[in-house]
């Protein structure tokens, strides 16, 4: 988990970035604090032709059918020097109201691709639901598949390639989560509080692997508290 502004690692549940102090209010000051209505495909930069847009829209709909909890959105714009992709993506996924997305799919289940047409850069931001299933390397893998198409000035083909790779990764993660849910849960479970751990230790001896993990975490926490 990284800060959208300083790209430094931050801990779970941080109210603001401990390194640069970035939080949503700072992004609000930059982009606005009111909710904005957008669609899953918002080609604000006019990057794609009508046929290309419909192609991408169809792919987005297919993605939504394949993953009933999730949605994929694309925003293309010109970001000049006043903003950056990560911050904008973070802000849009928190402040954006996607009008063509069903209500049972909250923004927390969204994956947003932001393309800076002038700066020729693209970035991915995703909601909390995908925190255990996606990481930076996965998103980079998707972007690198789109890279040659974007270099070739075929934004639609790039997005389609990206979506194809993303689908593959998410399918794999979904199957993996079904087989071994603990490994994914561990990624997002907040660190146990010392009081809770003490209670657990007192309640009985360590029996299984998960309890062993908790004991190890307790030992680390104790050392940190010292």
């Amino acid at each position: 988990m990284k800060c959208p502004r300083c790209v430094q690692k931050i801990h779970r549940g941080a109210e603001a970035c401990p390194h640069c102090g970035f939080c949503l209010s700072i992004a609000d000051a930059e982009f606005g604090s009111v909710e904005v209505i957008v669609r899953t495909l918002t080609d604000a930069a006019g990057l794609m032709r009508k046929a290309e847009r419909s192609l991408v829209q169809e792919a987005i709909e297919r993605f939504s059918k394949r993953f009933p909890q999730l949605f994929f959105a694309v925003y293309t714009g010109v970001f000049r020097e006043s903003a950056c992709l990560r911050q904008f993506g973070f802000w849009l996924l928190n402040r954006g109201a996607f009008e063509d997305v069903a209500l049972h799919r909250p923004n927390a289940a969204g994956i947003l691709l932001v393309m800076d047409v002038e700066g020729k850069a693209a970035g991915i931001t995703y909601g909390y639901l995908l925190d255990p299933y996606l990481d930076e390397d996965d998103t980079f893998q998707c972007l690198s598949k789109a890279h040659p198409h974007w270099l070739d000035r075929r934004p639609d083909q790039g997005i389609l390639a990206l979506l194809k790779t993303l689908e593959k990764i998410l399918k794999k993660k979904s199957r993996g989560a079904r087989k071994d849910p603990k490994s994914f849960k561990r990624k997002v479970t907040p660190p146990p509080q010392i009081g809770d751990l003490v209670k657990r230790v007192r309640s009985g001896p360590v029996k299984n692997a998960s309890q062993k993990y908790d004991a190890a975490t307790l030992a680390v926490s104790k050392e940190e508290s010292k």
């Binding site: 988990m1 394949r66 990560r86 931001t125 909390y128 925190d131 299933y133 972007l143 270099l151 998410l170």
Partner: protein, 343 residues
């Protein structure tokens, strides 16, 4: 003294100049003479001097004579008489088949250039000097057809009687697959039909891999020369080639028919299970593909504490630049903090 001589020469030249000019003027056209009427018109401004001069010249210049109409012969139906591509002229046919060929390469129609002809002929000469079997090539055009009334084999039997055995090839430029192979009678007895066909086919195969017609002829001749070597061996041994026995073919056919019948009976016996199995496999593949296409993927939702006050999302993925085609994507992965880059 010399100075005085120079002075006298110069003076004489000066005096002679008007005389020379007058002579020259006599040679050329006389200067135009102004009439009083013209002068009055010029003074009145009714005409320009240049007009008068040019008009004078125009009047003097004779109009060009009308171009003679060339007496072109009218095109009659006989002038459009073009030889069809399949036909060989009688005079050429006489050169081909009128007598025993004088050269190993027979091309009375001049289908090859002189240099090409010489090159191929030198190869054929070399072959004949090295082999006991002569090799003659008759060159025809791609679509030409030898008239059916010409009895080629009897003609060759007559021409080559008592001489060295020879292989005669009718080669059609650009269409090596139309080539024909003829052997002198004594060689024909030694070389079986199968061998002859194989020789011809392998030579055609060597020819067709080339694109140019002349190169095709080269390939053909080289391969045929190699095959003639084996014909020569058969001829030297005096072995008469065995005829392909029809019984053998019958046996093969019978065996084949038996096999086909066995396979058919086996298929009839197992027809239903085979069809069932195939049907099950096809249905399975179709069902599987449909199922895979319709498969939906779900994710377990965990409670996650919001970060940086974001109520929905704070998952920061990668950022990639696609500004340069020369640098690989990994080098264009942007890891630079934004406040250092742009803000």
């Amino acid at each position: 003294m010399s100075g005085l001589r120079k002075f006298l020469c110069f003076t004489l030249t000066l005096l002679a100049l008007p005389l020379i000019a007058a002579e020259e003027a006599e040679k050329h056209d006389p200067l135009p003479q102004w009439s009083e009427e013209d002068a009055a018109r010029v003074m009145r401004g009714e005409c320009l001097i240049s007009d008068a001069l040019f008009r004078l010249q125009e009047e003097e210049a004779e109009p060009p004579p009308p171009p003679d109409v060339l007496d072109m012969p009218e095109l009659g139906p006989e002038s459009l008489n073009v030889v069809p591509p399949t036909e060989i002229l009688d005079e050429d046919l006489a050169k081909y088949f009128g007598q025993k060929p004088k050269s190993y390469l027979v091309d009375p129609q001049k289908l090859m250039s002189r240099q090409e002809f010489r090159d191929r002929l030198s190869f054929l000469k070399y072959h004949s000097s090295d082999s006991n079997v002569d090799f003659y090539v008759y060159v025809f055009d791609e679509q030409q057809i030898i008239p059916a009334n010409i009895q080629v084999d009897s003609l060759f039997a007559q021409y080559f009687e008592g001489g060295r055995p020879a292989v005669i090839v009718f080669y059609y430029m650009g269409a090596p697959d139309r080539s024909e192979l003829h052997l002198t009678p004594e060689l024909m007895r030694s070389v079986g039909e199968g061998e002859r066909m194989r020789a011809l086919q392998s030579s055609i195969n060597q020819a067709v891999v080339k694109s140019q017609a002349v190169d095709q002829l080269d390939g053909f001749c080289v391969q045929m020369s190699i095959r003639i070597y084996w014909m020569e061996k058969a001829f030297a041994s005096g072995v008469i080639a065995p005829f392909i026995k029809p019984e053998k073919a019958d046996i093969n056919e019978q065996e084949q028919a038996a096999r086909v019948a066995a396979a058919t009976s086996w298929f009839k016996e197992w027809q239903l299970p085979i069809y069932l199995m195939l049907g099950v496999i096809i249905v399975g593949i179709i069902t599987g593909s449909i199922r895979r296409a319709r498969q939906k993927f779900y994710f377990t939702e965990y409670e996650i504490a919001p970060r940086m006050s974001g109520s929905h999302a704070a998952g920061v993925g990668a950022v990639i630049s696609y500004a340069s085609a020369k640098i690989p994507p990994t080098m264009q992965r942007e890891q630079v903090p934004d406040y250092l880059r742009r803000m």
